[in-house]
Amino acid sequence: MTAESKTRRIAVVNRKEVVDAVGEGLRGDILDLGIGSVEGVRHVRLYALHGALSAAELDRITSGLLTDPVTQEHLEIADAGLPVAPGEWGVEVWFRPGVTDAVGETALKGSRDLGVAGIESVDTGRGYILAGPLIRSQVDTICRRLLANDVIERYACYEGGQ
């Protein structure tokens, strides 16, 4: 059976009990912005895998390459589909077209080492799940001032439970 070429979006998150040092650092930076209502930041690594992948091949890449078996777990997500609970905000940051994505190149190399021939390219992004009573304008400020750089990246933010 040949799989058809499409894009699969994967989110890799730290397990609950694992220290999220990146998220913790960002929380401090958000407090510096004068936004005190943020209670927690979780950092998510995002991958968009383009190509014709069987379920087994997808699992080989996600479990075998993209996810640390001891500390992380992964899930396949839809567009604007971070696992955001009600009262939380999801932020996705992706490179603009044409910007060098070295991590994507490396993910492609690793996938090919695994013998997955059908993979065509990989884009990478970053996700953030912000907890705390925030309003959209605050999330926008956090995105513009901290999480994304409009010059090279585009971002989307959305509220959980919507």
């Binding site: 401090g28 930076d29 510096d32 912005l33 004068g34 603009r96 077209p97 044409g98 910007v99 060098t100 070295a102 190149e105 490396t106 390219s121 001032r145 901290l146 750089n149 409009d150 010059v151 090279i152």
Partner: protein
């Protein structure tokens, strides 16, 4: 991602254009060519009877850019000071380059310069097998827009300079100096389009960290300065030193050699980088400049380095240069200046389709090097590159007709068209020289009144906590300063590995005890009073730091890096003239040649209402060869009972000092440099060190004697008892705070082992020195004032905490 193929080549309608139209063409096309330059181009093409293509216009704009041609420094300047006007024809040749020429002539057989000002970096002698390569550059404008990517590619770019010098040097360390607005700048006061300085700070540090660490090049030394005027224009200086075999310093391209690009593929990133850096930033540049921003891939560059060192040693290529600003156009245009070159654009490997020919030729995609490869070696080179997954492509050849010809096969078809055909002579020598006016008007800044000055102890604690003085450990520990295994003196020193070292010492050849010292002198604050003394002080500071760790000034070479505002404004230009004149005077007097340098202009930010220019900022980097690293000296006090000396004269020179800044003043008396006294002191101190008479030595710079003594004490974990009356000083110095905080040049705080004082004093005969106190067993800094009272009695833990707290992020 795919783009539609686009092989469009347009011609610029220049022959019939009016002045207004030409001005518009330049502005709309982001060419940064002025009217006079546009006229020269029109005249050239009129004689040819055709309009230029976009490839030709872009190539000319890029080659003639300030970034590449240094038109300000090489131009004509009418320098007006008072009633006197001086015409300076080529400031660079008459100051920086002349200093080196004069010094080399004087030194005769002792001249240690190998290659200066001609290659991508300067080269001096190291030992019998290797020479030393050094280059420092700036990457300011991109870092303002994307701190991480800007700094990332800044360090990536400067690493490629030594790599593209001679036949390629192997990098041995990086040094980085940053200037930011204070990290506690109020968010509400940020102009539109400006990133907050804390974000810039963190982003730049992360960018340098991630590139340097991944490349495996230790970042061993640096400085970070803060001033609100860097808000819209942060400065990011990146430097790399390398070693190169003595028989691999000569390069040339011969007709028939192949033009080979190796490394990364070409994309649309970084278009217009060179011309962009010659334009003032406005609040619109954040959105218009997308293409000028690039992201680096350090692993790609590491792979290039790995194969290049092998190819170099096997003699597989004859010439090499990096693709920096201007991309292929600049690299190939320069390498083929004496021969001529033909480039086949369709052979350049692209990241994606859709690039126009001029974009391929001008792209500043990172991690690419251009080689001139004799045809008989191309297969070996290809095999070598393939064996380590590095892409190498022949994209043309060097000819003998002294023309830069660019051809292309549109639509991947068979027919070849010429998209540029430029005379090398016109390309490189055709740029018209501009006459600018510089006008110097000495400023007058009041001195702070006596009743505005807090007590010495309180001032000292506040100074230690000021952004400029405070510990940069948070930054330093994020850089791998140990990789390559050559570390001798680290950036952090002392009993707890946390005191601020003056200069770093590196042992680049693991089987040898010969070392390299690297130091940086910079203090834009004095420039608010007189840029002449700012430049003089920067040189003195760099040489002091070299001396502190055991270096000799007669084995030291300098690099200059000017970051300035808009040179079309006469006051900015006058500051440049004065700084450059000081560079000549002081470097010649110390006998320390300039071997390379760089300039960056137009560091001004405008948000429509106000224009903020950076303070004129000159970075002097010093590099010194040390015969035996075992003689190096660190800055931490070593043992109770040892004597503390102050060497060098203290004057009433608080102008521009950190102390006055803290009080909200600038003042009148910037520190001057007495070169005769300074070189005498440095040479004698070196001799004393060679005889083991110095246990610790620290440079008096920002915060003066008080800060230097405090740092030595808390780094070593022992207190000091000092008497200000024993400090050698000018007769008019009669205030405690002047002695404590004046930033007079050529001064050192020296710890001498107990019992060796007489030998030390005999050795220092001829220089001003005073035995000002001793290292004590109690963990407290005590200072007796000129009046005999104890004016400072502060626990080291308080001083150290004040110094460490601000940047403990």
């Amino acid at each position: 991602m795919t783009f539609e193929a686009d092989d469009t080549v347009e011609t610029f309608s220049l022959l019939k254009a009016t002045d207004d139209e030409m001005t518009r063409l330049s502005r709309d096309g982001m060419l940064a060519l002025n009217l006079e330059e546009m006229r020269s181009i029109r005249q050239h093409f009129s004689a040819l009877g055709r309009d230029p293509t976009d490839v030709e216009m872009e190539t000319l704009a890029q080659t003639w850019s300030e970034h590449c041609k240094h038109k300000v420094f090489n131009g004509v300047i009418d320098y007006v000071s008072g009633r006197k006007t001086e015409r300076i024809d080529n400031l660079f040749a008459r100051t920086i380059r002349k200093a080196t020429e004069d010094i080399r002539r004087t030194q005769g057989p002792n001249d240690r310069c190998v290659s200066v000002f001609v290659d991508n970096a300067g080269i001096i002698e190291f030992d019998e097998d290797f020479h030393l390569v050094f280059k420092v550059e700036t990457h300011n404008h991109p870092s303002a827009l994307d701190p991480y990517g800007g700094a990332n590619t800044g360090i990536g770019g400067v690493i490629r300079d030594p790599l593209g010098t001679g036949l390629g040097g192997k990098p041995i360390f990086n040094t980085d100096v940053f200037c930011f607005a204070p990290p506690d700048f109020p968010y509400d006061d940020l102009p539109e389009g400006v990133l907050h300085p804390k974000r810039v700070f963190k982003g730049v540090v992360a960018g340098v960290r991630d590139y340097g660490n991944r490349m495996g090049i230790p970042t061993v030394n640096g400085a970070i300065l803060f001033d609100e005027r860097y808000l819209g224009n942060p400065l990011v200086y990146c430097g790399t030193a390398a070693i190169i075999p003595v028989d691999r310093c000569e390069k040339s391209a011969e007709p028939g050699d192949l033009v080979v690009t190796i490394g990364g593929r070409t994309g649309r990133d970084g278009i217009h980088g060179a011309t962009f850096s010659s334009i003032e930033l406005t609040d619109a540049s954040e959105s218009t400049a997308t293409q000028a921003v690039q992201i680096g891939n350090p692993i790609e560059e590491k792979k290039i380095l790995d194969v290049l060192m092998q190819a170099r040693d096997r003699g597989l290529y004859r010439n090499i240069t990096d693709c920096g600003a201007g991309g292929f156009s600049s690299a190939i245009g320069e390498m083929g200046e004496d021969t001529g070159a033909e480039v086949h654009l369709e052979k350049a490997p692209l990241k994606y389709g859709g690039l126009k020919p001029w974009e391929i030729f001008l792209s500043e995609s990172q991690e690419r090097m251009i080689l001139a490869v004799p045809p008989e070696h191309i297969e070996s080179l290809r095999d070598l590159c393939a064996s380590e997954d590095v892409e190498a492509s022949v994209i043309g050849e060097f000819t003998g007709d002294r023309r830069l010809r660019v051809t292309h096969k549109p639509d991947a078809g068979e027919s070849r068209i010429t998209v540029a055909d430029l005379d090398m002579e016109f390309l490189h020598k055709g740029v018209p020289r501009i006459v600018r006016t510089a006008r110097w008007e000495p400023p007058d800044h009041p001195e702070p009144p006596a009743d505005r000055r807090p007590g010495p102890a309180q001032s000292l604690v506040r100074l230690l906590s000021s952004w400029n003085v405070a510990s940069k450990e948070w930054v330093v520990r994020q850089y791998d300063h140990e990789v390559q295994g050559g570390s001798v003196l680290k950036p952090l020193q002392g009993a707890r590995n946390d005191g601020p070292g003056d200069a770093a010492v590196v042992r680049p050849v693991l089987s040898s005890d010969r070392g390299v010292i690297i130091a940086n002198g910079i203090n834009p604050s004095y420039g608010d009073i007189d840029p002449y003394w700012m430049a003089a002080s920067a040189i003195d500071e760099a040489l002091r730091q070299i001396t502190c760790v055991g270096g000799r000034i007669d084995r030291t070479a300098l690099l200059d890096n000017f970051c300035w505002g808009n040179p079309d404004k006469p006051d900015r230009l006058a500051a440049l003239v004065r700084a450059a004149k000081a560079c000549y005077d002081i470097a010649v007097a110390y006998g320390t040649p300039f071997i390379s340098g760089k300039d960056s202009f137009y560091n001004e930010f405008s948000d429509g209402e106000r224009t903020i220019a950076i303070p004129p900022t000159l970075l002097i980097s010093a590099i010194c060869v040390m015969d035996d690293v075992g003689k190096a000296v660190s800055m931490d006090v070593k043992a109770p009972g040892n004597s503390i000396y102050v060497v060098g004269r203290t004057g009433d020179e608080l102008g521009g000092s950190r102390y006055y800044r803290m009080l909200g003043f600038i003042g009148r008396n910037a520190p001057t440099v007495d070169v005769t006294a300074g070189s005498g002191t440095m040479n004698r101190l070196h001799a004393a060190m060679s005889q083991g008479l110095v246990a610790a030595c620290h440079d008096c710079s920002e915060g003066g004697l008080a800060v230097a003594a405090a740092e030595m004490a808390f780094a070593g974990g022992y207190g000091m008892a000092l008497d200000l009356d024993a400090v050698p000083r000018d007769p008019e110095v009669d205030r405690d705070d002047t002695v404590l905080f004046s930033e007079s040049n050529s001064r050192f705080v020296v710890e001498v082992p107990g019992g060796r004082e007489a030998e030390f004093e005999a050795q220092m005969e001829g220089s001003p020195f005073g035995r000002v106190g001793t290292v004590s067993g109690e963990e407290c800094l005590r200072v007796r004032g000129l009046g005999g009272d104890e004016i400072v009695s502060t626990e080291l833990s308080i001083l150290k905490e004040a110094w460490q707290r601000p940047l403990r992020w």
